[in-house]
């Protein structure tokens, strides 16, 4: 009888190629996702060393960070010269090295972490990496997925492996059910609020509990996506019937007998009774409220019913950091969060750019208009999400409300394309980072769920969505 294993232990053990005397492992990588920003130097490294891509059939590339999301983007002039060079480099590298590719002109193009699951590249029990910290998203399928740097991108391209040491196991359990108006985004932000941005450093998080089981696959992706904001490289959720139903029939999912064999294996992917976790965090689902961030770190989370905190209420280095945040954000301690006026609303990103997110926001916006002077945009996570939203009539709801209806890409989540905030511009954003300058130099970001962002768009200030439904 073997010792009980966590889900992470099982996936890890099934991918170890080689273990050195000092415990360093060579881990096999099943899927390597690639985008234009963190890959050019890696492909150049391969060329200089005369190396090939070891497993081009397991390598999937899509441009997403730089691409304009305006409807005229087929016109190359919509991109700056350096962005154009970076996207052109990916076009060429994909062609030269023979990897799977979804160019900007392909309807399947979108944010890499939305395209992977959508196309069935991401499957339970796999190891998935990408030169992007939000690779944690794919953990929603019970795959071990994490971000890597460009040197590691080159390493995976050349060898289909990574040199790794195993992380520690952390369990985050969300018991019970969520209350109405509370979403996956509120779960993941609340966890970070509770554990801090370094709370998961060195760990792989397994999210579990009734509230997690009750989430859709889209919601689970939102939760895992922000594991990295809690410091954990990877977050994962054991696959179940919802997972299998989502995967079945996707273009790159197994079919027929292969499906049956895969399913039998996937059903073994859960944490055994009695398996050891190095750290356990438990939060009652009923205790989670709709939340927003007030500062410049994703751990600066408060229920929307709260007020801006005083820096002195913190301790250690956080006192100065909180003061710096308030200065940057233009807020005063004691100010009610619902009194904070919003200039711009951004709905999209790998955190909240999926169809369910757009449905949730549209449900709030139906028959309403955005506040006067408000700038609001929806950027679907992929061309297919966009097409589906148009088919379901969601696009028209957004347009009627006064939103811009954009093409797919990372857009204002990190503002590498023209979608940026101006200095002092305050944004209700469904993205994942509220760092200084993240959405544009001097821009002020409040993170929240799509429902909450839609509510802010209507009222012009941070709003408790529960008052609008």
């Amino acid at each position: 009888m073997t010792a009980p294993k966590t889900l992470y232990d099982k996936i890890w053990d099934d991918h170890v190629v080689d273990t050195s005397e000092d415990g360093t492992c060579l881990l096999y990588i099943d899927r390597h996702l690639v985008h234009e920003v963190t890959s050019p130097q890696a492909f150049e490294g391969l060329r200089m060393a005369g190396r090939k891509v070891h497993a081009p059939e397991k390598t999937i590339a899509v441009p997403d960070h730089n691409v304009p999301t305006t409807l005229d983007r087929a016109n190359a002039a919509t991109m700056t010269e350096d962005s154009r060079i970076q996207v052109a480099a990916l076009d060429k590298n994909a062609r030269d090295f023979g990897i799977n590719y979804y160019p900007v002109s392909d309807i399947r193009q979108g944010i890499v972490h939305i395209v992977g699951p959508e196309q069935g590249w991401t499957l339970p029990g796999m190891t998935v990496v990408c030169g992007d910290s939000h690779t944690a998203t794919h953990g929603a399928f019970g795959s071990l997925a994490h971000g890597i740097g460009t040197s590691e991108v080159e390493h995976v391209l050349a060898t289909q492996t990574l040199i790794q040491r195993k992380g520690k196991n952390m369990k985050v359990e969300i018991t019970g059910s969520l209350r109405p108006g509370v979403t996956a985004k509120d779960i993941t932000l609340s966890v970070i609020g509770a554990t801090g941005t370094a709370g998961g450093t060195g760990y792989v998080i397994e999210y579990c509990g009734q509230a997690i089981r009750e989430l859709s696959m889209e919601g689970r992706m939102t939760v895992c996506n922000m594991a990295i904001e809690g410091g954990a490289r990877a977050g994962l959720i054991a696959p179940d019937e919802k997972t299998f139903a989502y995967v079945m029939g996707r273009p790159h999912a197994p079919k027929g007998a292969a499906w049956e064999a895969a399913l039998a294996y996937w059903k073994t992917l859960y944490t055994d009774e009695g398996a050891h976790f190095d750290k356990v965090v438990t939060i009652r689902g009923e205790d989670i409220a709709p939340v927003v961030t007030w500062g410049t770190s994703p751990e600066d989370v408060l229920p929307i019913t709260g007020a801006v905190p005083a820096p002195e209420s913190f301790s250690g280095g956080k006192v100065d950091a909180a003061q710096r945040s308030l200065d940057y954000m233009g807020l005063t301690a004691g100010q009610k969060l619902t009194d904070i006026k919003i200039d711009t609303v951004f709905i999209g990103s790998c955190t909240n750019g999926r169809i369910e997110d757009l449905r949730a926001a549209a449900a709030i916006l139906k028959g309403k208009k955005i506040a006067p002077g408000m700038r609001a945009m929806v950027v679907p996570g992929s061309g297919l999400v966009r097409a589906q939203a148009e088919e379901e009539g969601l696009a028209q709801i957004f347009i009627d409300a006064g939103f811009e209806w954009r093409l797919a890409g990372c857009s204002m989540c990190l503002a590498m394309n023209p979608d940026q905030l101006s200095p002092g511009e305050r944004c209700a954003s469904t993205s994942n980072r509220n760092f200084e300058g993240r959405q544009g130099r001097g821009g002020r970001t409040h993170l929240m769920s799509p429902q909450m962002a839609a509510a802010a768009a209507v009222t012009g200030h941070l709003t408790d969505v529960r008052e609008l439904v």
């Binding site: 060579l26 370094a198 410091g231």
Partner: protein, 201 residues
Amino acid sequence: MDKFTTLTGIAAPMPLVNIDTDMIIPKQFLKTIQRSGLGKNLFDEMRYTPDGAEIPEFVLNQPAYRQSQIIVAGDNFGCGSSREHAPWALLDFGIRCVISTSFADIFYNNCFKNGILPVVLPQAAVDHLMDDARKGANARINIDLENQTVTASDGTSYGFEVDAFKKHCLLNGLDDIGLTMAKASAIDAFERKAAVTRPWA
């Protein structure tokens, strides 16, 4: 990759906690297709006004710290994105070592791939080294990777932990792709087995 053995240099004090990768190198500089040349944009938005003038208060703009090779930083340095442009920018500026109470995982790993040593020390040690760093060019901090020590200008020495494999690669400036390719037969064997046990992958 350049070797890292010992280093004696000026350390810049950056006590702010949660210094993230967007602060280290803002996204507009990620559009390069090269590794070099990012040093001038290191900490760009903290270092320059929007019209490009230096902000004199920022530590690396102060005369005493322009030649810094070490940063002593607040907790959770390098949190945020996986962009290796962060260590590339540090290296291009001349930083070879960052000392903090903790680092974000991906950033920590990326440093080792670029000849930069991230050192984790307890709060009291970082506080002492932070005070030392505030003395500017009047204090030099010494780092000895072989012996795993950081020594302040007053001779106080602190031991630190580092993974044996990462230490080996850094001491010798090794390219780990080459090391892994030497294990090609193990990778082939794994792939043959996986083709049977997990053919859908």
